[in-house]
Amino acid sequence: MYQYRRFNNKNSFFQKFGNLDYILLSCLLVLGFISLATMYSTDGGEVLFHTRSHFIKFIVFFTMMIVISLINIKFWFSLGYLSYVIILGMLIWTINFGITASGSKRWIDLYFLNIQPSELMKIFIILCLAKYFHRMKSQHVNSFYSICFSLIIIFVPMSLVIIQPDLGTSLLIAISGIVVLWFAGLNHKYFFYSCLLSIISLPIIISFLKPYQKLRVLTFLNPDRDPLGAGYQIIQSKIAVGSGGFTGKGFLKGTQSYLEFLPEKHTDFIFTLYSEEFGFIGSVILLLIYSIIIYRVIRIGALSRSYFAKLFCYSFGTSIFIYIVINMSMVLGLLPIVGSPLPIMSYGGSSMLATMIGFGIVMSAKTHSQQSIA
């Protein structure tokens, strides 16, 4: 029905193009370019597998984002619950038939690509909860029933991801969900009490952690206790960032990554390499680009007519912000090491796909900002 309208109304189609947020788009393109350059550097100054693959993924998903943005926001609203259930099904599928890599089952084989449903869940849980709260009357938001239901929506995918096991992503899913709850107007005292509760129960939670996770916490508290083992990543990462200095060592001249001292330099630690080569200036510029992107996302939310679009944009923007903060704090030694990619910069198809879908929906809210949803 929506597609029918799109193809029939050519005017509206071009109008939609005109209504795209070009500042956001160009920021995303610049970010894509930076990430490609960094990927090129991780490949040692050659166009190798990672660069090529990252390039193709970026182009494909960027195009996909534009396509998504042209589809009416109502369509995405209507997909809210269904997509959540589909991803949930994929997570269950992962547990049974997933591909095992480095000790955890995270991927499912879709013949042409391997996908990581937990990454997609980070976005679709926002979509689902936004839809859930869109319909709700404000006095019902803090009712026992709605809180319970929304917590179930969060806990089910979270626990499915934890048993993969993938603590980092499950925490990010939970954060995405909680962000929506916050915006939906859940009483402050619940956040306060649950915060208090989690701090009190922290020692108990730690006792339930796997040995390698406990090690990460201990390593975070004192990286020098095992500099060649558990502390290696964080020490080398700090050395790389610190040695970058004010202006950086120069493109393709980051010795820490070039000489393979950096672990996971394509994925979680990509900021380290970027920061080593481009220094404090480059890092601040990167943060600025991210800030503009988040600002534009929130601005789109503010300009949207529908509550759903607002809620989604605010939550998505905030989630992206939190992902960035967690990733950077991790590589800068401010947080223990949890697996969390840097949006768009890090290598990884599922993460890129999820992020681009998110931006697509945001952009759709922009092109359909006057659309109200019943």
């Binding site: 915006f183 700090k238 040695s243 000489l259 393979e260 509550y307």
Partner: protein, 624 residues
């Protein structure tokens, strides 16, 4: 309508919460930026050094060892270019093929081959595997000719120790070999400069002067990756070669000593009596130190170790011998100095039929028929034991030991220069009481008078003693390193009370060599230019029994281990003495027949070489 107002409250709350969060975001962002600032700007230096520490690794190369030169600047321990074969396993495509090919070309034994393969498995693939460390030119060129077939094999020319005079200087210089754990523990300098394959001195001067010889490492600085693999060379810092040490040895004379002691066990020391410079010092049998440089084979080692003539012992410094009659000049001098006797003091030597008897013990002179009435000069000349029994009895061992020690016996001649030098032993009553817990008995004084009993000396001590008699009785400090300018305060202080006494002893020694009936008369040189004075000695290895005396066997009839040591000390040319020497031949028989003839050969050369030595010295000063 309630719907509209409800959505308005919802939107209000949403926007309000967004505002709160936006503020929080800015604060958090500020935190990240400040963390970046802290790491990248404030702590930049610290992390930059850490990063350099990560990526830059230094490789030390073996330092080039300093050389040894003789007095005339000839290299007696130098460096030569060793032809080696290196393989970096990682750079070889088919290691098995290459190593078998190398084995074939070099005709390696199965044992050597296994050792190489074992070594290969122990090292990292990018480290150098030394397949052969000292190839002959033929094999080296053979490998070079087949290089097209040997991918990754590197023929390398490296610097290694070389002793061109082979066994001639072994006991002076010692030898070098691979540094082991013990070397690293005992010498900080070696530890600091250690690289695999470093060769260090194991004995002799090579060991004593390690500090000066070792030089400093050349350093190659490489950029490496996280796995320690070299990526590129950043710098090369050339090390210094070790110091060249010039010795006082005259190679020609040293070679002659080696020649003279061929097939014999013993030692020859030659010393300048004024400067104390050692002109030659040799201990025989010797061995070729070159065989230790690349590790000696087990068979060769066993051969050296089990040789009954003990090639590993430096007899000149660590051989403790009874001095025999060579002590007599000191006994006589001590008696004169203490005014126990005058030169005219006479004793009757009655021969074996009528020996000196004391508390039931008999003390025989070596001469069966006896010497009759002898005075000091005659007793020295003919080495009459009976005379010296009497002199020693009157003198007493304590006075004798004072004089002996004054002339350098009983203490190390080179102090710390050689770590294997022994101090010998000059006994006295106090020493015996302390060391053995018994009182000194008169019989022991009597045999000490002819250099038997407790008294022990090394050949270099005897040489020093003779030198100090020859130079008129002045203290000298022997040296083997040419520019060893140690200024001892008591250098050239007189060791005598009356210089006439020294003259008397010198004259007596002259008579022993140059007058009829002198014990070394047959070894004399008549030409006044070469004429020398000396004193023979025959030191008993075992006590002579009555039966032995009756049998009176010739030297070659006695088992080797029981034969007497032959000794000879001398100085010359007599007219104006310049050199002193000591000769000892283990189990050689009588000093007069075996040791003294060697002195004849030596003095001919020593005196001839003196001109050259003197001129070389003068020239040296002129050049400056």
């Amino acid at each position: 309508m309630i719907n509209i107002s409800d959505s308005a409250t919802k939107l209000n709350s949403l926007n309000r919460r967004m505002f709160i969060l936006a503020a929080a975001k800015i604060i958090i962002l500020g935190g990240i930026v400040s963390r970046l600032f802290f790491l990248q700007v404030k702590e930049n230096k610290k992390y930059l050094t850490l990063s350099d520490k990560n990526r830059i690794r230094e490789w030390k190369l073996p330092p080039i060892r300093g050389e040894f030169q003789d007095y005339f600047g000839n290299t007696i321990a130098g460096n030569f270019e060793a032809y080696q074969l290196h393989i970096i396993p990682e750079e070889v495509e088919d290691f098995r093929y290459v190593i078998y090919r190398v084995k074939e070309l070099l005709q390696l034994s199965e044992k050597q081959f296994k050792k190489i393969v074992k070594k290969k498995n122990e090292i990292k693939p990018w480290e150098t595997l030394i397949v052969a460390d000292n190839l002959s030119w033929e094999k080296f060129s053979k490998i070079n000719n087949h290089l097209y077939d040997l991918n990754g094999v590197k023929p390398v020319i490296s610097i290694s120790r070389d002793y061109p005079y082979k066994e001639n200087f072994t006991h002076i210089l010692g030898y070098v070999s691979q540094a082991n754990e013990n070397d690293l523990l005992t010498n900080e300098n070696i530890k600091e400069k250690f690289v695999p394959g470093l060769k260090v001195g194991k004995t002799g001067l090579e060991k004593s002067f390690e500090q000066k010889l070792i030089g400093s490492n050349s350093v190659e600085r490489y950029e490496v990756n996280a796995y320690g693999r070299r990526i590129s060379q950043l710098a090369f810092q050339k090390g210094d070669k070790g110091e060249t040490i010039k010795l006082t040895i005259d190679t020609k004379i040293q070679e002659l000593t080696n020649e003279l002691l061929k097939e014999k066990a013993g030692s020859i020391c030659v010393m300048d009596i004024y400067t104390g410079a050692i002109v030659a010092m040799h201990s025989s049998p010797s061995f070729d130190p070159n065989s230790f440089v690349f590790g000696i084979s087990q068979d060769e080692w066993q051969l050296i170790r089990n040789n009954p003539m003990k090639p590993l012992v430096n007899k000149s410094l660590s051989g403790n011998y009874s001095p025999g009659s060579t002590i007599k000049p000191i006994v006589a001098l001590s008696a004169l100095e203490n005014e126990i006797i005058s030169p005219d003091f006479t004793v009757q030597c009655k021969g074996h039929k009528n020996p000196l008897e004391l508390y039931g013990q008999t003390y025989h002179c070596w001469k069966k028929e006896g010497h009759g009435f002898v005075n000091l000069r005659e007793a020295m000349k003919q080495s009459c034991d009976t005379y010296f029994y009497e002199v020693a009895r009157r003198l007493g061992v304590d006075k004798l030991s004072v004089t002996a020690k004054k002339f350098g016996l009983g203490q190390k001649v080179f102090k710390d220069v050689f770590d294997n030098e022994k101090s010998g032993l000059v006994p006295n009553t106090e020493w015996k009481k302390n060391a053995l817990g018994r009182n000194w008995v008169l019989g022991e004084t009597i045999i000490t008078g002819i250099g038997q009993g407790f008294i022990q000396t090394t050949p270099i001590q005897l040489c020093l003693m003779t030198a100090q008699i020859a130079n008129g009785g002045y203290k000298i400090y022997p040296k083997i390193v040419a520019n060893d300018d140690n200024q001892y305060a008591d250098k050239f202080t007189p060791l005598y009370k009356k210089s006439r006494n020294i003259k008397i002893i010198q004259d007596a020694m002259f008579s022993s060599t140059n007058e009829v009936r002198g014990t070394s008369y047959r070894s004399r040189l008549d030409d006044p230019k070469y004429r020398f004075a000396g004193k023979t000695g025959t030191s008993q290895v075992k006590k002579i029994t009555e039966r032995d005396r009756e049998l009176d066997l010739k030297t070659f009839e006695i088992p080797y281990e029981e034969r007497d040591h032959a000794l000879y000390v001398a100085f010359g040319p007599y007219k104006s003495p310049r050199y002193a020497l000591s000769i000892i031949i283990e189990h050689g028989g009588s000093g007069g027949t075996v040791a003294a003839p060697l002195a004849k050969e030596l003095f001919k050369m020593i005196v001839d070489r003196h001109e050259i030595r003197k001129n070389y010295d003068n020239k040296k000063y002129l050049d400056i």
